[in-house]
Symmetry: C2
C-alpha cells in the first residue's frame, strides 16, 4: 500500500493553539507600537543569522515562530510606528491584516474562472474607485501590487492605443515616428522605469521643468510637444503627478487634460498617494481634472493605510485596456455556454493585466473600507494634511529651521540652519541629524534634495501620528542640531 502524505498540519490542535498565540502576540505588538523605538539598527548578528542552506528536515512550527520573534519581529523597518514619515510608507490596519489571513486561508485566485465570489469583490472595489474619482461606469480597472505596477500597465495601454499601428504585433522595432511621453522632472522614478521597460527608451521621456510650486511648467510642456512634432516625432502621452514624492505637489490637472484633449494625447495620472486627497473637503480642489484622465494609477498601501501590497489602475476606455492585455490560449478558453467554471461572460481580470494568477488582495481593501466608511478616511486624510501644516508652522516659528518647499498637501521638507555655515556643511549637518533621529529611535523622516540642498523629508501618510509627535520631532531636531554644531 502506498503511503500518501500532505502538507496539512500533523497536529491540527497544536497548530491552532500556535495560531491563537500569534494572534494575541500581534495584537499586543500593534497595541504597544507607540512604546517602542521607531527603528532599531539591526545588529550584525541578524545578517549572519539568515544564512545557510535550505533545511532538509522539518522544524517544529513553534520553534520557527520563536525564531521569528527573536530575529525578525524586533527589527522592523518601523513604518507602523506613529513617528515614521520617511520616503512614503503606509501604516496598515489590524482588520486589514485579519483579512489577509482569511485571503491566504481560502487561497483563491481571482485572475479568472467564473461564478466564484472573489472576482466580484475586486470588481466592486474598482466600481467604488470609479465613484470616488468620477470615472464613468464603463471604465475598467485592476488591482496591482502598487502604483509602480499600475503606472506600467497604464502607460502600456497609452502606448498601444496611441501609437497608431499594431504595436502588439510590430512592437517598437519598426519604422514609425518616435513615440514621446511627457512628465515633469519631479515625476516618480517608476515612470522612467516603466518607460524603459516598455521599450520607449528614457530618451523618449521628456522631463519638463517645474514652477515654484513644483508643478509641471505648462508653457514648457507645450513648447516641447510642438518641437517634437516639428522634428517628426509622435507625442502620445502626458503623465500628470498627483502627489510628487519630494514635495507632494499636484500638477495642474485641468490644464493638462485640456492640452491632452487639444493635442490628442493620452492623459495618464500618477496618483501615487496624493490622489486620495480627493476625500479631503479642503484639498480636493487641487485634484480637479482627475476625472478627465484616460488612466489613473494609485497606491492603497500609503494613504488609505492598507497593509502591503496593494495599488490600482483605472482606465477610461475599457476596450483599450482589454486590447492591450487580453490573450487567450486554448488552456484559458472561456465564455462559452454559461455553465461550468469557464462558462461565464465576464471579462477575466487577467485580460486587463500582464499577470494571470491573482491573489485576493481585494479582501483587505473591501473589509477596511466597510470597517471605517469613506467619510472617516476623508477625516484621516484631512488630519494628515492639517498635521503637516502644523509641522510647517512649528518650522516657520523656529529661526533655526527652514522650510524647503511649499506645503501643499502632506509632505514637509525642511532643514536645520545656522548662520555662517556654507552649503556643504549644512548638507552634512542635516544628514547627521537625520541619522541620529533614526539611530536613536526617535523618528524616521528620510532625506532628499530640494533645489540641490539636502533636507529632511516628512511624507505624512501615518494614521497613528498625533500633533505631539511633531512637537517631539522639532524639539529633537533642534537638540541634535545644537549638539552637532558644538
Amino acid at each position: 500500500m502506498t503511503i500518501e502524505e500532505n502538507l496539512d498540519p500533523e497536529d491540527w490542535d497544536s497548530m491552532r493553539d500556535l495560531g491563537h498565540q500569534m494572534l494575541d502576540d500581534m495584537f499586543d505588538h500593534l497595541k504597544g507600537v507607540r512604546d517602542r523605538p521607531v527603528w532599531q539598527h539591526a545588529p550584525e548578528e541578524i545578517k549572519r543569522h539568515f544564512n545557510g542552506p535550505i533545511p532538509s528536515d522539518p522544524e517544529l512550527p513553534e520553534d520557527i515562530y520563536k525564531e521569528f520573534q527573536k530575529y525578525i519581529l524586533p527589527y522592523p523597518i518601523g513604518n507602523i510606528n506613529p513617528r515614521f514619515w520617511g520616503w512614503v510608507f503606509g501604516t496598515g490596519t489590524v482588520f486589514g491584516a485579519l483579512a489577509d489571513f482569511l485571503a491566504a486561508s481560502i487561497n483563491t485566485n481571482s485572475g479568472g474562472i467564473d461564478y466564484h465570489s472573489a472576482p466580484y469583490v475586486e470588481r466592486q472595489l474598482i466600481d467604488w474607485f470609479k465613484g470616488v474619482f468620477s470615472f464613468p461606469a464603463s471604465a475598467s480597472g485592476v488591482l496591482t501590487g502598487g502604483c509602480s505596477e499600475a503606472n506600467l500597465i497604464g502607460l502600456a495601454v497609452a502606448r498601444n492605443t496611441k501609437a497608431g499601428y499594431q504595436i502588439r504585433q510590430e512592437g517598437l522595432q519598426s519604422p514609425h515616428p518616435r513615440l514621446i511621453v511627457y512628465a515633469s522632472e519631479q515625476a516618480h522614478s517608476s515612470i522612467q522605469k516603466a518607460i524603459e521597460l516598455l521599450g520607449f527608451g528614457s530618451e523618449a521621456l521628456r522631463l519638463i521643468p517645474v514652477n515654484d510650486q513644483f508643478q509641471i511648467d505648462l508653457k514648457a510642456l507645450q513648447t516641447t510637444i510642438a518641437q517634437d512634432r516639428s522634428n517628426g516625432h509622435l507625442p502620445i502621452c502626458v503623465v500628470g503627478a498627483a502627489g510628487t514624492t519630494n514635495t507632494g505637489s499636484i500638477d495642474d490637472l485641468i490644464s493638462l487634460a485640456q492640452i491632452c484633449q487639444r493635442e490628442n494625447l493620452w492623459f495618464h495620472v500618477d496618483g501615487a498617494f496624493g490622489v486620495w486627497a480627493v476625500l479631503s473637503p479642503q484639498a480636493k480642489g487641487q485634484l480637479a481634472g482627475i476625472e478627465q484622465a484616460d488612466s489613473l494609477a494609485f497606491d492603497l498601501h500609503k494613504w488609505m493605510y492598507l497593509p502591503y501590497d496593494i495599488g490600482a489602475l483605472l482606465v477610461r476606455n475599457e476596450e483599450a485596456h482589454r486590447k492591450t492585455f487580453s490573450l487567450t490560449p486554448a488552456y484559458l478558453s472561456h465564455g462559452e455556454g454559461g455553465r461550468g467554471m469557464a462558462g461565464g461572460d465576464l471579462v477575466w481580470l487577467s485580460d486587463y493585466d500582464f499577470k494571470l494568477s491573482r491573489n485576493f488582495r481585494a479582501l483587505k481593501a473591501w473589509f477596511s473600507f466597510k470597517e471605517h466608511g469613506i467619510l472617516k478616511y476623508g477625516r484621516l486624510i484631512q488630519q494628515n494634511i492639517d498635521q503637516a501644516r502644523y509641522l510647517a508652522q512649528l518650522i516657520s516659528a523656529s529661526p533655526e529651521l527652514e522650510l524647503a518647499a511649499p506645503v501643499s498637501l502632506n509632505v514637509v521638507c525642511f532643514r536645520f540652519i545656522q548662520p555662517g555655515l556654507d552649503h556643504d556643511t549644512l548638507d552634512s549637518l542635516n544628514k547627521q541629524i537625520l541619522v541620529e533621529l533614526q539611530e536613536q529611535g526617535i523618528a524616521a523622516p528620510s532625506g532628499t534634495l530640494i533645489h540641490g540642498k539636502f533636507v529632511l523629508h516628512v511624507a505624512h501618510t501615518n494614521h497613528r501620528t498625533l500633533r505631539k509627535d511633531f512637537d517631539i520631532l522639532v524639539k529633537e531636531v533642534l537638540r541634535i542640531g545644537h549638539q552637532l554644531v558644538q
Copy 2:
C-alpha cells in the same frame, strides 16, 4: 483642542475576539475541505450582492465578517479541495496563511532601507533557490507575484543585456537590427505577453514547432536562428520551458544551453511549476541543463504549494540584473555612511525590480520550507508525479478513455471516446463532461486543445489529492459520458 483619530480598533478586545473566531473558523474550513463539493456555481444573488457605492459610514467588523461568511466563503474557486486540478493552481498551506497574517500585521516593506530583518529573509530565500537550482552564489534574484512577472523581468534583463546598445536610453525606437526571441509554440502565454509589453512586438517572437514529446524542435530552432541572422536580425534570447501548461513537457535544456552558448544568446527558462521536479529523484534528470540558464523564472504558489501570490526570478549575472532596473533619485539615495536607515551597502531589492514597495511575501515561504524541510517537498512532488502516472494507467486501462499526450511529469490530458463519433461530436461530448464534473462539484479539471482535439486537462500540483480521488474522477467521467451518449 483638536480631536485626533486613527484607524486602530475602537475596541481592541472585541476585535481580538473576532480574530480568534476567524482563526477557529478557518481551521475548521481547511480541516473539512474534503467534505465539501469542489466547486459550487455561485448564484446570481452573489453577483448582485457586490454592488452599490462605497460605504460612507462604518459597519461593525462582526457584521462584515458575517457578510464574508455568507457571500464569499461558500463560493470559492475550489483549488484547496483535493479534487481540483484545473489549469495549474496551487493549494496553499495552513502555516503559510498564518505567516501571511504575521507579515500583514508587521506590515514591513522590504523594497529597500537597510538594517531591518525582512530583506535578509528574502535574500536567504534567494540563496536557497540558488542552492536548489545549482546557480552560482554570485547570482541575484527577486521574489515576484508569480511567474508571469518573473518572466517579464527576466526577459527585460535579456533584452537590455544582449541588445548591444544603450537600450534603457534609446529603447527599441532607434535604427538597430530587429531583436528576436525564440520559444516553442507550447510556451506559456505570459511569454508572449512579456514580449509585447517589452516592446519587441509578437512578430519578434518566433514560436518554434514541437516534437511528439511537446518539446521545442531543436533543428527548427537552429534553422530559424540562421534565417533571422541572414535576414539581418539580431537573435538575442531563447526561452526554454520547464513544465508547459498543456502537457507538462520540459524542453531539452542541455541542448538549448549549448545552442545559446554557441550563438551568444541569453538562455531564459520559464520554470513555471515544472522546475520544482528537480526535487524528485526520478524526474530531476529531465531538468538537467537548468543550472546553465542565464535567468530562471518560476512559481511558488503552484508546486511548492504556497498561498498566493509568490514566484521568483534568478539571474546568473547580478550586474546585468541590477543595470536593467537600478534607478536612484535623490529621495531614494542610499549607501553612504554605514549608519542610519539608508546607510548600508546592500543592494536594495528595488534595484532588481520595476517595483519599489515590496510586501513580505518571503515570510510564508521561509516559514513553510522550514516547517516541512525540502526533503518532504521532494516527496510530495514525487507523489504528484506518481499519482499522475496512476491516473494515466487508469485511463490506459479503460477502452473508453484516451490519453491525448505523453505523461512526462504531472499533467494528464485525456478524453472520453466512443466508436463512430466524429471529431466535433467528441469535442462537444467532452466539453459537456467537463461542465458536469464541475457543476456537480465532483472534480475540477479544466479543458484544453491537444492536436486540435478538446481534452480534459489535469495539472496535478495538489498536496491533498489521494489516489482514490483519481479513481473517483475516472469513474465519474465514464458515468457522465455514458449518460450523455444515451
